[in-house]
């Protein structure tokens, strides 16, 4: 059964329709990429999937027992965060919040989880550093570590490689793939990097101005649309 089921979803912002009549589903352990040109409503759709935005019509249902507090989320950075006084550890720990329920303080297990996430992303040495003094790439990794702490069954990523250099981008994608394969955590990713999307994903949702493609990655590669986009973006 699907962990997220979208039926006839229409989304809008500022009175404009961003996405209309969309149907797709995300499977357990899926690797699901949302691609498309700017302004086709990728981020808006992601916000709706996360329950941050209401759908104008249609329905988005979490299925298969997936609860909100099993979701990790890596958002694009906000203005507030750029000058926020917080240590790296404090930021990552807040990823464990959703498992705490009403219990007020973090447990030793939570702290271990944080250590492990920092280890994985090789940012352990930044632990006591101030978040706002880090470079863009380091900040991105801190936010990813926080998302990892929160993600039990699903990891949602919005343009995760913004601010990362090419080598870190490659490392990042292989890390996400590994996590998806080994721990069985489903991944939903919005990206403008069509090549990486095709390389790693299992399903692709390509949003167009008034239309959308949804299918497996193989189907996408064989489609007219896929040929056009993958061909058009090749630099060699």
């Amino acid at each position: 059964m699907a962990i997220i089921e979208c039926k006839n979803v229409t989304l809008g912002y500022d009175g404009l329709v961003a996405v209309s009549d969309l149907n797709f589903s995300v499977e357990e352990q899926d690797y699901f990429c949302i691609i498309g040109d700017n302004g086709t409503g990728k981020s808006t759709l992601l916000k709706a999937l996360l329950g941050l935005k209401r759908v104008s019509s249609g329905s988005i249902v979490l299925g298969d027992g997936l609860r909100r507090n099993q979701i990790g989320y890596l958002a694009q950075q906000t203005e507030v965060q750029k000058e926020f006084p917080a240590s790296v550890r404090e930021v990552i720990l807040s990823g464990c919040m959703n498992k705490r329920g009403l219990r007020p303080f973090y447990s030793a297990a939570d702290k271990k989880r944080v250590e492990a996430a920092m280890e994985t992303l090789s940012i352990s040495r930044l632990k006591g550093k101030c978040y706002k003094e880090l470079s863009g790439g380091q900040q991105q990794r801190v936010l990813l570590a926080r998302a990892l702490c929160a993600a039990e069954r699903l990891l949602v990523l919005d343009e995760p490689t913004t601010g990362l250099d090419p080598q870190m981008t490659t490392e990042f994608f292989s890390f996400i793939r590994q996590m998806n394969a080994e721990q069985g955590i489903a991944v939903i990713m919005v990206t403008h990097d069509t090549h990486c999307a095709v390389k790693y994903s299992k399903h692709i949702l390509h949003l167009l101005e008034n239309d959308a493609f949804f299918g497996t990655t193989e189907e996408y590669i064989d489609s007219e649309l896929g040929k056009k986009y993958i061909g058009g973006h090749r630099h060699d």
């Binding site: 329950g51 941050l52 507090n69 979701i71 926020f84 006084p85 917080a86 720990l93 919040m97 998302a147």
Partner: protein, 273 residues
């Protein structure tokens, strides 16, 4: 020096002011860190004006001031929170409108009641003499409640302050904690208003947070540092007002300005080295 301090504490009203002022300063500074970072500082200012209006009505009608003002300001806090979260209405202007509106209404009511001119002055700029014994007790209980709730929800307040969308997306009910923050702020402002004055109480929320952000690097150190700064400034301010017979609220703010400048210089020196 020691004589002055001993002499100061021999007055009951000073003792009351120190107790209530210290507690309110503590609450205000803890909440202030979150409010400043969330860009909610204007809400504090707006609430104090609403508080002034409510206080004027309560006095004119001969009702118990704190017991009437607190619920009114709490209601206003929820309203202002909704306004500033709703991007369609210009949050800032809406807050300013409500603030100045209730200030004006308060002044109208106060001026029509008998012998209110000194009272208006006291409400606007604060008076150290305003505290009765029962006020002190109520302040003790309420500020203890604010402190306990703050400590219990500290981690959640951090999560919601740092990244509300993340908190919401991952299953934390951010709205509830925003409301909690608004509620605690409303209570704190009403408690501190009569000593600090409606025009100056929001300084207790804003100054210590901004001051400690000059130097501190983590949320926890900012929080602790602003608590210490805030209580220190209130005590120094009360002493200053006692020695030079200046208004208490203004004296406290003056000390806060001094500490802010000091911290700014220290941050600058640290940067240059």
């Amino acid at each position: 020096m020691i004589n002055t301090i001993l002499q100061m504490f021999s007055y009951t009203f000073i003792l009351r002011a120190v107790v209530v002022g210290g507690l309110v300063a503590l609450c205000a500074s803890l909440l202030g860190v979150s409010l400043v970072l969330k860009r909610y500082a204007m809400i504090g200012d707006g609430l104090s004006h609403v508080g002034f209006g409510a206080l004027a009505v309560a006095t004119a009608m001969n009702w118990a001031p704190l017991e009437v003002t607190i619920p009114v300001v709490v209601a206003a806090a929820f309203l202002l929170l909704r306004l500033s979260d709703n991007s369609k209405i210009k949050g800032d202007s809406a807050i300013a409108m409500i603030a100045t509106g209730s200030l004006a209404l308060g002044i109208m009511i106060a001026s029509k009641s008998t012998g209110m001119n000194t009272d208006i002055y006291n409400y606007l700029f604060g008076s150290i003499l305003a505290m009765s014994r029962s006020d002190v007790l109520l302040s003790l209980v309420l500020s203890a409640a604010v402190l306990i709730l703050f400590v219990l929800f500290y981690n959640k307040i951090f999560a919601v302050t740092f990244d509300e969308s993340f908190a919401k997306a991952t299953g934390t009910k951010a709205e509830i904690y925003n409301m909690l923050l608004a509620l605690l702020t409303a209570v704190t402002i009403v408690l501190g208003m009569r000593m600090m004055g409606a025009l100056l109480i929001s300084s207790l929320i804003i100054f210590p947070a901004l001051t400690s952000m000059r130097l501190c690097k983590s949320f926890r150190s900012v929080t602790i540092c602003s608590a210490v700064i805030s209580v220190f400034c209130v005590l120094m301010g009360i002493a200053l007002s006692f020695v030079y017979s200046t208004p208490t609220g203004a004296s406290i703010v003056t000390v806060n300005i001094g500490v802010f400048i000091l911290f700014s210089i220290m941050a600058l020196v640290k940067k240059l080295r």
